[in-house]
């Protein structure tokens, strides 16, 4: 496996629900005073909260931090888009197709908690998964996953320049993994943009009978 999927970064300061401060490195910080020991992006976040919530206002240093536009987190936004599309579009489609209900209990656990099986350099991995990690989770080859993805059979999302996978792809992959090669070839043909009309009609006929 060459690369792991992109990691979701939960480090850095996070606004407290009481709006009286923030949490950083598992420590509660009261108020929103500038802390030069924090990285620049973290200081900018604190400055933004100071502007919004600090009763005493915010400092000149914080004013200067906010004068510079926030650095774009393009990869973070790609993960966000993929994750939201997965739960709002891809997973409901997997449920409507019936594949979600066909998961065995152990498969459902693995879909919910991929870290039970997927590791990269000894560390547990969570979504999004790379093609290699999805293959590891479902017990198929990476080539197999790439082939399914190439033919549009798995929902995939471009993140940091690579196709990566969320839980809906796991549901599809578990279903494909137990199908004979010829059936997958037939599904692939049906999923192509312009399937042969006679082939479609024959499938409909076969399913009716």
């Amino acid at each position: 496996m060459d690369h792991p999927g992109t990691s979701i970064d939960l480090s850095g300061p996070r606004l407290r629900a009481d709006l009286n401060g923030y949490v950083v490195n598992d420590q509660f910080i009261d108020g929103f005073k500038d802390d030069p020991a924090l990285p620049a992006t973290a200081r900018r976040k604190v400055a933004e909260w100071a502007q919004a919530f600090a009763t005493e206002g915010f400092s000149e240093e914080q004013r200067q931090l906010l004068a510079v536009p926030a650095p774009a987190d393009d990869v973070g936004l790609e993960v966000l888009r993929g994750a939201v599309q997965n739960i709002d579009v891809d997973l409901p489609e997997a449920a409507e197709s019936g594949l979600y209900d066909l998961l065995a209990d152990e498969q459902r656990k693995l879909m919910r908690e991929p870290w039970r099986k997927v590791k990269f350099q000894g560390r547990r991995r969570d979504y999004p998964l790379s093609a290699g990690e999805l293959a590891q989770l479902v017990d198929v080859s990476v080539t197999q996953v790439r082939d399914w993805e190439k033919h549009g059979l798995l929902p995939a999302h471009r993140i940091n320049g690579r196709r990566q996978f969320f839980s809906a792809a796991v549901i599809h992959a578990f279903a494909f993994a137990v199908q004979p090669r010829q059936r997958i070839a037939a599904i692939r043909e049906l999923s192509e943009e312009k399937p042969d009309a006679r082939f479609e009609a024959l499938v409909r006929y076969a399913l009716r009978n």
Binding site: D9, L10, R14, A83, R124, S167
Partner: protein, 171 residues
Amino acid sequence: MHGLIHNHERALIWNVDPSQKLWFHYTDRTAARAIFSTGAYYVSSEHSGDRSGLHVCPYIPGSKTETELESLILDGTRGAAERLRACVVFAEFGDLKFVSDPFTQDGMRFLAAPGQVLRVQTNIVGWAAEQTNGGTSSWEHSLTLFDPAKLAESRVTNPSPGHPTKGSFQN
């Protein structure tokens, strides 16, 4: 997991200060983590026109069953598969004003167009996820959702478990 802690429910902010106005956006664990990580919400193409936007409800994690939540806050157009297993917690502040969602019984929403990215850095105050262990399930919460003083008290009387898991995750 992922910095979430369990137990110490009495130190959760809504149990310490019930007047605190918070809204809960139910989703799956990965989307909750991504929203919490970026401080942003991406409006998907799930709904179009008058249904698209950020959907929330007033129900704290664990206060309703999945079936109850499904009927109270979903509009019936899509199943609830995995959608109610995590949530992002929002404070209503600034331009983010939630109004009643006419397509659900108790849901609230902030209308926004599909594809829009809402910058909600000053509104996101935590996340929580349901953890299942051998047939029983419980909710775990980000440290941001606790009252600092009450949590410190609770940790003295019940020191373990309840500290964030560290280190073993690539993510």
